[in-house]
């Protein structure tokens, strides 16, 4: 088997594995008992999507896709920080209303 063919098959298998991983994480997103679990699952899904786009760059040979993967990783970091800040703000607001009366 030549190197290019091995790379093709390995890339396709890796894309399949990443797709299965995404489905498994979606189960946690649906089931997750609290908001924190759902934020974690969303973060994981966007990380897997960035890895998937990098895998497409490996399979097709268009290395331009790596820029898209980096941009997606940046945006997913920002969204996770924003959602965690929201969780923190909600927790502090709830504790203040419990103390106030």
């Amino acid at each position: 088997m030549s190197g290019a063919m091995a790379l093709q098959w390995a890339g396709l298998a890796a894309l399949g594995l990443l797709l299965i991983a995404m489905f498994v994480t979606v189960i946690r997103l649906v089931r997750g008992p609290n908001l924190g679990d759902r934020i974690l699952a969303l973060d994981m899904i966007s990380l897997l999507a960035a890895a998937f786009i990098a895998g497409i760059a490996v399979v097709t040979g268009f290395s331009l896709y790596i820029d898209i993967a980096i941009a997606l990783a940046l945006v997913s970091f920002l969204s996770t920080v924003a959602l965690a800040r929201y969780l923190l703000a909600r927790a502090s607001r709830r504790s203040r209303t419990e103390e106030a009366p």
Binding site: S2, G3, A4, A6, L7, W9, A10, G11, A13, A14, L15, L17, L18, I20, A21, M22, V24, T25, I27, R28, N34, L35, G36, D37, I39, L40, A41, D43, M44, L47, L48, A50, A51, A54, G55, A57, V58, G61, S63, Y65, I66, D67, A69, I70, A73, L74, F77, T80, V81, A84, R85, L87, L88, R90, A91, S92, R94
Partner: protein
Amino acid sequence: MAEFAQYLAAFLVLVGAGFSLIAAIGVLRLPDLYTRLHAASKAGVIGAGLVFLAVAVVSLDGAVVLRSLLGIVFLLLSTPVSAHLLARAAFRSGEEPTKATTVDDLK
């Protein structure tokens, strides 16, 4: 040389996808949020980073290698920060650790 780089990239992309799958299974099966954060932030970032490294190996182009290494460094910097923020927010909002936790120094 290019042949060897292709075999190496095939190995890296498979190992990276395997790590991502293990991280996803950990996110599904571990008992509470704090243990799930371990799977998502450590194994997940290694999986995505290895796939990025495979792009760097297969391209053999200076600009692409630099960009994907930059992507890996960014992932290694950003993921612990977001995991720590999320754990802190969950602890402040009263998320209970699993029963198997024996030491909780923050209580």
